[in-house]
Subunit: 268 residues, 2 copies
C-alpha cells in the first residue's frame, strides 16, 4: 500500500514514519527463529556485546533465505522508493539483538554521518527501515528519535570506539540537548511486525535493555541507486558494494516461506 500524501508530509516534517502491523505473526516468528540460529554461529558478521551476548548480525540477506525475502519485501522497498523517487540498493543490513539483560546502549548519533564519513556516500538519500521482531516496549530499550533533527544536516561528531563494541560517530551532550529542546524525544512502541522508517540524518539512540524481554529489530539501510557509496573503508559485508537495484519479491513470499518451514518442521 503506497504512503499517503499525509504520511509523506509527516516524513518530511518529522523525519520518521511509524507503520504498525506491517507483518503478520507468522512472518515475524520465522524471522525470530532464524535470527537465533544466526546469533548462535561464530561467523564474522555476528558482533557481540562486551558480555558475549549478540549485539548485531550483518548481511543476513546474503546467507539466509528468510532474511533475503525480507530484504526484498515490497512492504519495505516500495515506501522507500516512493520517498526517493528511484530504485534502491541495499547499503547495510543488520539484525540488532538488544538482548534481554545484556543489550547495551547505542549512543546518540545520525546514521548518515557514518555513511558519509566511513563509506563516502554522497547525499543523505538512504534511510533505515526497521522491522520489530519482538514487542518494543517503553522499558526494553526502544529506539528514541529526536523529531525534526534531520533538518540539521550532518552535525559534528566524535568517533566513539570505547563505550560499546560498535564504533560509532556520536554527538555531544550540548548538541543533543539543543535538538531535544526543539523537537522533543519520541520512542515508538508496538507489536512484532511493526515498521519504523527514519531519515538518515534523524538523531537517535537507545538505552540498554535490563529487562527479561528481548528487543530484536531488523534494519534495512536502503540507498537510492544513484547515491551509491564512492569511497568505502568498511568491509563489504558492512557497507555493501552490490549497487544493483532490488527487485521486490511477491507480497506473500515470506509468508509462503514461513508456511513451508512450519510444514517441514511438523513432518520431521
Amino acid at each position: 500500500m503506497p504512503l499517503t500524501a499525509q504520511q509523506l508530509r509527516q516524513f518530511v516534517d518529522e523525519g520518521y514514519l511509524f507503520l504498525p502491523g506491517c507483518f503478520s505473526e507468522a512472518e515475524v516468528a520465522i524471522l525470530r527463529d532464524e535470527a537465533e540460529s544466526i546469533y548462535a554461529t561464530d561467523r564474522q558478521e555476528v558482533w557481540r556485546e562486551k558480555t558475549g551476548a549478540p549485539r548485531t548480525a550483518f548481511a543476513a540477506h546474503t546467507y539466509n533465505e528468510a532474511f533475503r525475502l525480507l530484504g526484498s519485501h515490497p512492504r519495505l522497498i516500495r515506501p522507500v522508493e516512493q520517498v526517493f523517487g528511484e530504485q534502491l540498493y541495499m547499503h547495510q543490513y543488520k539484525i540488532n539483538a538488544k538482548a534481554a539483560f545484556e543489550g547495551d546502549v547505542w549512543q546518540w548519533h545520525q546514521d548518515y554521518g557514518t555513511w558519509a564519513r566511513d563509506d563516502g556516500m554522497p547525499e543523505p538519500r538512504a534511510m533505515n527501515i526497521a522491522v520489530f521482531m519482538d514487542e518494543v516496549m517503553a522499558i526494553n530499550g526502544p529506539l528514541m528519535l529526536v523529531p525534526k533533527s534531520h533538518k540539521q544536516g550532518v552535525l559534528a561528531a566524535g568517533h566513539d570506539v570505547q563505550t560499546t563494541s560498535y564504533p560509532l560517530w556520536t554527538l555531544d551532550n550540548a548538541t543533543v540537548t539543543r535538538l531535544v529542546e526543539e523537537g522533543g524525544i519520541v520512542a515508538p512502541t508496538g507489536k512484532p511486525g511493526s515498521v519504523l522508517m527514519f531519515h538518515g540524518n534523524l538523531v537517535h539512540a537507545s538505552a540498554p535493555n535490563i529487562t527479561p524481554y528481548p528487543r530484536r529489530i531488523v534494519y534495512l539501510t536502503l540507498c537510492a541507486v544513484s547515491n551509491y557509496i564512492r569511497t568505502p573503508t568498511r568491509p563489504e559485508w558492512i557497507a555493501h558494494r552490490d549497487f544493483n537495484p532490488i527487485a521486490p519479491v511477491a507480497d506473500d513470499a515470506l509468508l509462503n516461506y514461513a508456511r513451508a518451514a512450519a510444514s517441514k518442521a511438523a513432518a520431521e
Copy 2:
C-alpha cells in the same frame, strides 16, 4: 489524607502504591535547588558515577533544612505509619540524581536484602517512599518494579561491587525472569511531586538515563521503630543509628520554607 482500604489492599497485593500530585511545584522547586547545592559539594555523603556526575547524596535531612522538613513530612510519614501500625525512624535518606546523559543503571535488587545483610534489620518492616523532583518519564530511567515480588521473602543475591559505584546485593537473571513471568514490570511515570511507596522486598531496578532530562528522586527509607537495626556495618550516615520516632512537622512547613526562601532571594 489517610490511605483508603482499597489502597492498603493494593499495597498488600502488589507491593507498591503510586500517589501522584502529593507535593506542589513550589515545594518541589526548592528541593531541586537545594539538591543541586548539595551535589556541588564534595562531602563524603555525595557519591558519584564513574563519570563524576552525582549519583546519590546521603543523609541530607541531617544537614539541609528543606530536606529535614521533607524527611518529617506528614504526607510521607503518616501513610507508612498506617501500613506498619507504629511510629517510624529514618533508616536511610538518599537523593538519587540519575543525571541527564550520565545516570547509570541500578541493577535488579530488593532493598531489604541489603538492610538485612549489611545492617542487621530483623524484619522487612521498613520501606522506601520516593518523591519525584523531576518528571519521571518512560525514557529517562524510571524505576521499574516487579509487582507481587515482595511475597518471595529475601531472595538469594550476589554482591555487585563492579557494575556501578554503589555496592548492591543483586539478583540473577533467572530469578528476575521467573518473577517477571509472574508479575510483569511496571514503571510508574508522573509529574514532579508524585510519590511512590514500595515494600522492602519488592524487586526493582532502573536503566541508565541517556536523555537530556534529569530524573532526581528523594528516597526516604522509613523503618518501624521496633525494627531498628541490630548489627550495622555501614557508616552511620548510610544506615542511621538514631532510632527515635519521627515527629511529623506541620503540613505547610515545607511550603512556608519555600516561600521564605523565595522572598529572601527576591530581596537580595
